[in-house]
């Protein structure tokens, strides 16, 4: 810029001393950079292979076929059924998880001001285990007992989501302001009823919000559980992709995206209605 810099009256006296730099942050950043570098070395992504003519051709062929999605009525009918099945899986799984999570959240939360019950640690540990194992792994395990089909997928979703929601619910219950509950406890009301009449109504909007948000995540999970044999869109996808039917794959992907968008919309609308 050719605007002249204004000449200021100069500083009077010496500048105050600059505080010493903390060493933790640069060290941590260095550690993270090292980890990133080591990761790339380990993964050894052969970038050259990605951009070979062959790979580009294959990608091009896939995209080309997907752009012309399959539209035969018989196929679309099956697609619709699979989509509904996936939707039902996500809804039932989330619902089961919300109920189970709420039941487990009670022993997993502590009443403010009182020492934690002896069930708190074990319940939290159980919720963590449920949460750590991803839905797909649960589904693969449940296939042994339940066989192929959406039941395994639904139960897998329910198990994993119970862990997630249980912990979120427990945290929300613990963090709810204690005023009303304290007043009820002071009159001698037992713990379960205090929960029903004071804590639950307070925490309910937050719990519903978490559940609806989790439904958004579960529709994505449900769509892919079929890949290991869990029914719905995922099973169709795995089938047609395995046979390189890219046109059908394109339709299934579009249906998946549409279903995910639908559930996102429903969930957002519901959350806005509940929390104006």
């Amino acid at each position: 810029m050719n605007v002249p810099t204004p000449t200021l009256p100069g500083p009077v006296g010496a500048l105050p001393a600059r505080p010493p730099r903390r060493w933790q942050v640069p060290l941590m950043l260095a550690g993270m950079a090292l980890l990133a570098l080591a990761s790339f070395v380990e993964v050894g992504v052969e970038w050259r292979r990605l951009f070979t003519h062959d790979a580009a051709q294959r990608m091009g062929r896939f995209l080309g076929e997907m752009v012309d999605p399959a539209r035969e009525p018989a196929f679309l009918a099956r697609l619709g059924v699979a989509a509904l099945q996936t939707l039902a899986m996500s809804a039932v799984g989330t619902l089961l998880a919300a109920v189970a999570g709420l039941l487990l959240a009670l022993p997993a939360s502590r009443v403010p001001g009182q020492p934690a019950s002896r069930w708190r640690q074990p319940t939290r540990w159980l919720l963590n285990v449920l949460r750590s194992v991803p839905e797909l792994v649960w589904a693969a395990l449940l296939l042994i007992s339940a066989g192929l089909g959406p039941l395994a997928g639904t139960l897998a979703l329910a198990l994993h989501t119970t862990g997630v929601l249980g912990r979120l619910f427990a945290d929300a219950i613990e963090n709810a302001p204690d005023g009303p509950a304290f007043a009820l406890r002071a009159t001698g009301l037992p713990r379960a009823q205090t929960f029903l009449y004071a804590t639950l109504p307070q925490a309910l909007p937050q719990l519903l919000s978490y559940t609806l948000y989790r439904w958004e995540n579960n529709i994505r999970a449900a769509a892919v559980l079929g890949v290991v044999g869990g029914g719905g869109l995922g099973q169709m996808l795995s089938f047609h992709m395995g046979l390189f039917h890219m046109r059908e794959t394109g339709s299934i992907l579009l249906a998946t995206i549409a279903l995910v968008a639908l559930v996102d919309l429903l969930s957002n609308v519901a959350r806005r209605i509940l929390n104006p």
């Binding site: 993964v43 052969e46 619902l95 991803p134 792994v137």
Partner: protein, 293 residues
């Protein structure tokens, strides 16, 4: 929640028109709505349960139960042979490596997309409505982010496995693309819901967009941004384990192999390794967030 109907019934049985009004006044206004929603819920639930083939009792049918119990019996003791454990450790490290490499790529992709889609850096909207071209571009970038997010990473992995072959590269690319969409969306939300005042003032006084980002938006939101990014890394660790199921390397691939051979002991060990890995990532993530916060 006392039922007022009983109260009014006991109040005055020998009442006339005013009493009829009183009963109406005491009916719980939420009653009808609640009944409606409960019936609607049940009406939706029944077909859903059918669609899902919710025959839970089948789990306990004799043949299934036998298979389950045999598998459970096989799981103990978990396999702890030296070379197997070494392999599990190696695969665990590979899982972490896939996740970290994927996050780096996702960040490289997400940051420019966030900057492009963020209305907080819009110069045209400083003085009223946003310029229509600028608005269209921001919506287009957001649509791209939505598409990236909506396709589950497993699907990307399936596609990439066929393009670049089996192995960790497919997993890295799949997670990178999906997570770029998620990071881009949440970064945009964090920036736009934070304090816009410092950035807009800088823009009003003529500074460049990237300057306003670095001097105002970034310092104002650094804590949320890093917290979410670290949390997403932890999710990536879990995702990359899962992607192994379709051949993208890591613990998941080994788990799939052991399950197909019905080797309960190996499955048990890998599951334990998995739970430990997630717990470790959780702890590291919480520690990092505490240090940065």
């Amino acid at each position: 929640m006392l039922r007022p109907d009983t109260a009014s019934a006991t109040m005055g049985a020998a009442a006339t028109a005013p009493d009829a009004l009183a009963v109406d006044r005491y009916r719980d206004p939420a009653w009808r709505g609640r009944v409606f929603w409960m019936l609607a819920g049940v009406a939706l639930l029944a077909p859903a349960l059918v669609a899902v083939e919710f025959k839970v009792w089948l789990l306990f049918a004799p043949e299934n139960l036998k298979v389950t119990l045999r598998f459970l019996a096989d799981s103990l003791p978990p396999a702890v042979a030296g070379d197997f454990l070494a392999m599990v450790l190696r695969e665990t490290w590979r899982t972490v490596a896939i996740a970290t490499a994927a996050m780096v790529l996702a960040l490289l992709l997400a940051v420019p997309l966030t900057l492009l889609s963020c209305a907080a850096l819009s110069v045209s909207s400083l003085s009223g409505r946003m310029h229509p071209l600028a608005w269209a571009m921001r919506q287009a970038v957001r649509a791209l982010l939505v598409v990236l997010r909506s396709v589950p990473e497993l699907v990307w992995a399936l596609v990439f496995v066929r393009v670049v072959g089996l192995g960790p590269a497919a997993g890295v690319l799949a997670i990178a693309l999906t997570y770029a969409g998620m990071l881009g969306k949440v970064y945009g939300e964090i920036l736009e819901s934070g304090e816009l005042h410092p950035a807009r003032t800088l823009l009003r006084n003529g500074s460049g967009r990237l300057q306003a980002f670095v001097y105002a938006l970034l310092p104002g939101n650094a804590r949320e941004l890093t917290s979410y990014s670290v949390y997403r890394w932890e999710c990536a660790v879990r995702s990359s384990a899962v992607l192994g199921f379709v051949g993208a390397g890591g613990l998941g691939q080994q788990l799939d192999a052991s399950m197909k051979m019905f080797n309960g002991g190996e499955v048990a060990t890998i599951l334990v390794a998995f739970v430990l890995l997630v717990a470790l990532a959780d702890a590291v993530s919480a520690q990092l967030r505490r240090m940065l916060g």
